[in-house]
């Protein structure tokens, strides 16, 4: 893969969103991925609806949590995602009001991305932002810089937060992943989290996936 890559510089990433007091990170991670995939396949960057997934994905548990792998399947079954504008985010579950007439983007299937971080970087640089999940240890108090917690404190089997991998690179010789979070721009570096790259920090490489258009 290239030494560094950032999909924000190539127009494939929408603005940072805010999930509010709701465990809907899985929906934000998946819509972020589909926004990137749609941009790369269709040439336009759309902001897509997380609320549709919160309300209409019957397999996942809305604000109680969910899995990106289930969300892809739900989107396939529903027929696509509405835009953020048409089906705006509320931060709590409401009855499903999805309309096929308002579909802005669809997907055909989904894939799992290998755990090897070099392959993750190569896939990202070629194919777009990736939905990932990680252990959110220390994110409650993260402000800026490259986070690199001890493995024992941020173990890879306690995954509890889904986010979007948008790029990678080095800062002063320290390799990092650039991660788009969904806690608003008043958290982290303008809403982004920078995590050490190359050692499977916080299990970031364990649940990588993408929709396929």
């Amino acid at each position: 893969p290239p030494a560094q890559w950032d999909w924000r510089e190539h127009g494939a990433v929408t603005e940072v969103k805010n999930q509010g007091m709701c465990g809907s990170c899985w929906a934000f991670s998946v819509t972020g991925n589909i926004e990137g995939q749609w941009f790369l396949k269709k040439g336009s960057l759309l902001s897509l609806s997380e609320q549709e997934l919160v309300d209409c994905d019957g397999v996942d548990m809305a604000c109680g949590g969910g899995l990106p792998s289930n969300a892809y399947e739900a989107i396939e079954k529903l027929g696509g995602l509405e835009s953020e504008q048409d089906y705006s985010y509320l931060g709590h579950k409401e009855p499903c009001s999805f309309s096929t007439n308002k579909v802005s983007a669809y997907i055909n299937s989904s894939v799992e991305i290998p755990k090897d971080e070099t392959q993750i970087a190569a896939w990202l640089a070629k194919n777009g932002p990736i939905s990932i999940a990680l252990n959110a240890f220390a994110m409650q108090f993260y402000r800026k810089g490259i986070s690199y917690p001890f493995r024992i404190l941020c173990n890879p089997w306690m995954i509890d937060h889904a986010v979007l991998l948008v790029g990678y690179g080095d800062r002063d010789g320290k390799p990092f992943w650039a991660i788009k979070n969904s806690w608003g721009t008043d958290w982290g570096e303008e809403g982004y989290y920078y995590l050490h790259r190359g050692t499977g920090s916080c299990g970031m490489n364990t649940m990588c996936s993408s929709a396929v258009i």
Binding site: P1, Q19, M21, C22, G23, C25, W26, D60, M61, G64, G65, G66, L67, S69, N70, Y72, E73, S109, S110, V111, E112, I113, P114, Q119, A122, W123, A125, K126, N127, A133, A136, A138, Q140, F141, Y142, R143, K144, G145, I146, S147, Y148, P149, F150, L153, W157, M158, I159, D160, H161, A162, R171, D172, K174, W183, D186, W187, Y194, H196, M207, S209
Partner: protein, 227 residues
């Protein structure tokens, strides 16, 4: 040797007169030697061990809280009210005492106090005259004030505000610990989530299903092979 449960709250066992006597002695000893203006009161007890030797030896850790009473008051009442921020200014002391109940005598064998707060253990080189916690408290209060303004936090009453201040203070210490252990260049500290307990944060913002449910199987992505 009788080892009692490791943590005991004073109000849990009000009838334990023997224990209360020992704690009152610890309080009195602390107030006698501390050089502080305020009277301190025992709040809770931890790691108590009782051993029958020539008398009865007690080893225990006591957490002392600041009251509104002053030592120079002519008569210090027994029921001095606690300072509203007492829990943020707890002093932790480890005592060894020898009690001779049959002659109504007590001897303090050893005591060491730390002013680092609830989670800190007293260190051997710190004693009751160590650095006052007021500076740390002022720093925390100043940070909390900025935090409330920056993130436009609203609390329903003073009680909730005080509770959030206590959580904020503990979280600030936790962030410092995370900072010390980080191997990268990250900065940790006050964030908009600094007034939430870990449990609240996990419940409100995180996703427990990710580690408790298996992912739906998906086909593997093809690794790029071209340059």
């Amino acid at each position: 040797v009788s080892a009692l449960p490791p943590v005991r709250w004073l109000q849990e066992d009000p009838e334990d007169i023997e224990l209360k006597t020992v704690l009152r002695l610890a309080e009195r000893e602390y107030n006698r030697v501390s050089g502080r203006e305020d009277v301190y009161r025992a709040l809770r007890l931890r790691d108590l061990r009782r051993q029958l030797v020539s008398g009865i030896r007690y080893d225990f850790t006591v957490f002392l809280g600041r009251t509104l009473c002053k030592k120079e008051d002519e008569e210090v009442p027994d029921n001095c009210s606690l300072h509203s921020l007492a829990s943020l200014m707890e002093i932790q002391c480890r005592y060894s005492m020898l009690v001779f109940p049959w002659v109504n005598e007590t001897k303090v064998l050893d005591h060491r106090c730390s002013e680092e707060g609830v989670s800190a253990e007293p260190s051997s080189d710190q004693d009751v005259d160590s650095v006052k916690p007021e500076d740390e408290l002022l720093e925390t209060l100043s940070l909390f004030k900025d935090f409330v303004t920056t993130y436009n936090k609203k609390y329903k009453d003073d009680e909730e505000a005080l509770m959030r201040l206590q959580i904020f203070s503990q979280n600030f210490k936790k962030a410092k610990e995370i900072q010390e252990k980080d191997q990268g260049t990250a900065e940790y500290g006050v964030t908009k989530f600094s007034d939430l307990t870990e449990e609240e944060f996990r419940t409100l913002y995180l996703n427990p299903l990710l580690s408790s449910q298996p992912s739906r199987p998906m086909k593997m992505a093809l690794a790029p092979t071209d340059p």
